[in-house]
Amino acid sequence: MQHCLPEQLALAALREPLPDDDALHLAACDRCRGEVTSLRRAVDAVAVPELAEPGPAVEPPPSVWAAIAAATGTTVAPDSLTPEPVGAQVLPFRSRRRGLVLVAAAAVAGAVLGAGVTAVLRGGDATESVTAVALDPLNDEQASGRAEVVVREDGSRALQVDLEAPALDGEYYELWLIEPQVVDMVPLGVLRPGTQTFELPAGLDLGEYPVVDVSVEPIDGDPTHSGVSVARGQLDS
């Protein structure tokens, strides 16, 4: 009986299916099987999922670049790891939202959170304001305002927002409720300077998403947060 060709045995070592004739022979031939086994040792060593082509990107924490810079003496830094020089404040996001973790804001954001005013309670109205918060400008942004959670008689809730901010050209403001880790968020809608009311989804736990955030969004069809926040406050629930 004729043995399999060396090339076929190499493919078998890679676990490619062989033509029927070869497969039949291989099943019965110790010599060919021995050859496959010996060739397969290298395959089994490295053809493992951990070493496969890269899958989803995961952004390393900033300390990784810091260590690389220290070890290589590099003085330049990736743009993503340096603060945005002007204006817009950038939120840190998990990588599913963007390829790079934008760390610039982490420190500043912490300082801004908690700047909100305490809850205001008004009884007897058709609506009851349960909590209000000042929206403070981030960095030197011109945007600021106030957000107030109102509960209607039927139990539905809304967020009433007063925004003082310059009009935008080719971009728009968007309102978000964000969790304290600034990862998950609920978009409430397009916002313009002035007073507007946004419906709050029934069942949304404001304690879970206490950060009221105003972002500037480019008109690019991307529904995710641009990473550019101009004003923020944290609801006190």
Binding site: P6, E16, P56, V76, V86, S95
Partner: protein
């Protein structure tokens, strides 16, 4: 069977940056090939750009192997440091920079496994000594695979093109020889014979360096 081989750039956030005065921003428009060339030439900006473009992929691999945390971070860090200090060995004309980084990352992952294995053996040896018992043997599997892995990755580095590209597509992108032929534009027979010769070469390396498998 659909592993993409050409590394895609991670999607960078489109953060609106106004009035950027930085030199790096003009460099940000460089294409990947140019970043590779500058990296090889020792341009620090290229290191920063390479990190910006590909650290996510490298770290993604490290996290896939070790989960998030210090081990993965160490792998990512060591990958870029090794790439930079070893940039004289990078041939931009032979492989794209991201593929080279991924190759280094594989080494670092394998090295970490090997180090863990060593530590485990040492800890075990210490334990057995303390108990005045013979060192518990490991199944021949575990540590020999760990060692094989380091050797095979090392041997892959020594392969020229197109051999290396072909075998990497088979190993890491899980492509069949027919798919590799299609991907590379090389004739089927050429792909098959390269695969055969490379596997023989890897076998010699393993059997020469390590204990030969029983026939």
């Amino acid at each position: 069977m659909s592993g993409a081989v050409a590394l895609r750039r991670p999607v960078l956030g489109s953060v609106v940056a106004v009035d950027q005065g930085s030199v790096r921003h003009s460099a940000a428009n460089l294409d990947d090939v140019e970043v590779g060339r500058r990296f090889a030439a020792g341009d620090e900006c290229a290191l920063a750009l390479a990190y910006e473009r590909w650290a996510g992929q490298v770290h993604g691999m490290a996290v896939r192997a070790f989960g998030p945390g210090p081990d993965a971070e160490d792998v990512t860090q060591q990958t870029f440091i090794a790439a930079w200090t070893g940039r004289a060995r990078f041939r931009p004309e032979a492989s794209p920079l991201p593929a080279w980084l991924v190759g280094i990352c594989r080494h670092k992952i394998a090295d970490t496994w090997a180090r863990r294995e060593r530590q485990r053996r040492e800890a075990d040896a210490a334990m057995s000594q303390a108990q005045a018992a013979p060192v518990a043997g490991y199944g021949p599997g575990v540590d020999s695979v760990v060692a094989d892995r380091v050797l095979v990755l090392d041997e892959l580095d020594r392969l020229g093109q197109p051999q290396r590209g072909i075998i990497e597509l088979a190993f890491f992108a899980d492509l069949t020889h027919a798919q590799i032929a299609e991907r590379t534009g090389l004739p089927l027979g050429t792909v098959k014979s390269h695969i055969r010769r490379t596997l023989e070469r890897l076998r010699s390396r393993l059997e020469g360096d390590g204990a030969a498998l029983p026939a």
